[in-house]
């Protein structure tokens, strides 16, 4: 990996975090707006080892829980699972491909929402159905689309595992 790509990678991750706190509220309904913070985590898991990804997921989830204290810990658990499984599955099964990465973003977002909903236990059966079948797929789609756009624009800097091939 070139040194400039490493800097670009870090800048893009930081930019996604900034977008989460500045732009996301302006993108309409929060239930379907792209989750930039989760996208940053998923992009990180493309390159990182499963243990580091799980730790990063735990940190991201804990920070998110600090903003929604009623379900404290649920976000940490969900993001830990997503981080570890994403990194592990990416290493084992998935090829380096933009479409495959898009599917990973979609599945990761949907699974995170499922895990949060189950762990927090605040939704009844109807609400859970709407969340998992309507809102969560929509948010997964917007998040995946944003991720694919990023990979298309900055593919070499983002989707390259150390020692692996380019996207």
């Amino acid at each position: 990996m070139r040194k400039s790509d490493r800097y670009r990678y870090l800048i893009i991750l930081a930019g996604l975090v900034v977008l989460e706190f500045t732009v996301r509220d302006r993108l309409g309904d929060k239930r379907i707006a792209p989750d930039f913070l989760l996208l940053a985590l998923l992009i990180y898991t493309i390159r990182a080892q499963p243990g580091r990804s799980a730790l990063a997921g735990f940190v991201v989830g804990l920070l998110r829980d600090a903003l929604t204290p009623t379900s404290f810990g649920a976000g940490a658990l969900a993001h830990t699972l997503v981080g570890y499984l994403s990194s592990w599955a990416k290493a084992v099964f998935f090829a380096e491909n933009v479409f495959v990465n898009g599917c990973l973003f979609f599945a990761g977002t949907w699974f995170r929402n499922l895990a949060v909903a189950l762990a927090s236990g605040g939704l009844d059966r109807t609400q859970l159905g709407w969340e998992l079948l309507v809102w969560s797929p929509l948010q997964s789609f917007t998040t995946a689309a944003t991720g694919v756009l990023l990979l298309w624009l900055f593919g070499r800097a983002l989707a390259m595992r150390p020692g692996g091939s380019e996207v």
């Binding site: 706190f21 500045t22 499963p50 580091r52 799980a54 810990g73 830990t80 592990w88 084992v92």
Partner: protein
């Protein structure tokens, strides 16, 4: 776990993962007394710059929305201000009309000008009072400034007023000091003198100074005495040895009227009803 998975998820990775899961479960099951300080600490340290950034973004967005609202209000105010002189003029006119009504006391009908006379055709116009209001043909029509015209025809609810600019209009007139009498008629139906009146039949030996205020004299019984007609502005012509004709600037132009008063009672003298400065000398 598949052999391939072992290659990528080492024992250390698995331990870290399990540790994170354990911590998350512990956080979920921790009492509120433990959760809240942790969440508060994170908000006040790690998340503080991001929350400040979010707050600034919200402020910026709100400021932009307020700016748009202020611009919209300014545009509305500017649009409303374009009508302000007209409204102010109408307000002054209506106040004058109320003052005239108070001075007249009785024997009049207020009316709104329905068909506004155009500047190029100020000869006749329609008002909103008719027979049911007591209006009769040949009733005098006045405004706070002075004589407007005479009622030509009357319908049930409206009337047609012949203004002083009509070629057939005539009024018996007298100078405000009573020194001169004559007949006021339109100066002409075309040309620069169309908006002027003329005082006819002034004896040749009598001189009328410029600025003399001309009132209705009350002779003939159509108009009561004392309605301002206009102000003498010069000599129009003279028939040698017989009479002089003077130009009179009218007290009121029919084209600017929105409301008038129709005199319905046969009053002989209403000089006190008009303000002293209604006709500028």
């Amino acid at each position: 776990m598949s052999p391939a998975a072992d290659r990528y998820a080492s024992r250390a990775d698995t331990l870290i993962f399990l540790g994170c899961v354990a911590l998350a479960v512990a956080a979920m099951s921790a009492p509120d007394a433990w959760r809240d300080p942790i969440a508060q600490g994170l908000r006040q340290t790690v998340l503080a710059p991001f929350l400040a950034l979010q707050q600034q973004t919200d402020l910026l967005s709100a400021a932009r929305a307020r700016y748009d609202a202020v611009v919209a209000q300014r545009d509305s105010a500017a649009l409303a201000a374009t009508f302000l002189p007209e409204l102010r003029s109408e307000n002054v006119r209506l106040r004058s009309l109320l003052g005239l009504g108070a001075h007249l006391g009785w024997g009049y009908v207020p009316a709104e000008v329905l068909h506004q006379p155009e500047p190029t055709n100020p000869l006749m116009f329609v008002v909103s009072a008719g027979r049911k209001d007591g209006v009769r043909p040949l009733s005098g029509v006045v405004s706070p400034e002075g004589l407007v015209g005479i009622v030509a025809t009357v319908d049930r609810q409206t009337s047609v007023v012949m203004s002083w600019a009509h070629p057939e209009f005539r009024a018996s007139a007298i100078a405000a000091d009573g020194s001169v009498v004559g007949i006021v008629a339109p100066h002409g139906a075309a040309g620069p003198g169309v908006w002027l009146l003329e005082l006819q039949g002034v004896p040749y030996r009598q001189q009328v100074a410029d600025g003399t205020v001309i009132l209705t004299s009350g002779l003939g019984g159509v108009f009561p005495r004392g309605i301002p007609i206009g102000t003498v502005v010069g000599l129009a012509g003279e028939a040698t040895g017989w009479e002089r004709t003077y130009l009179v600037r009218p007290a009121v132009h029919p084209a600017v009227l929105s409301h008038v008063m129709i005199l319905t009672a046969g009053r002989a003298d209403i000089r006190g009803a008009f303000q002293a400065d209604s006709v500028a000398p």
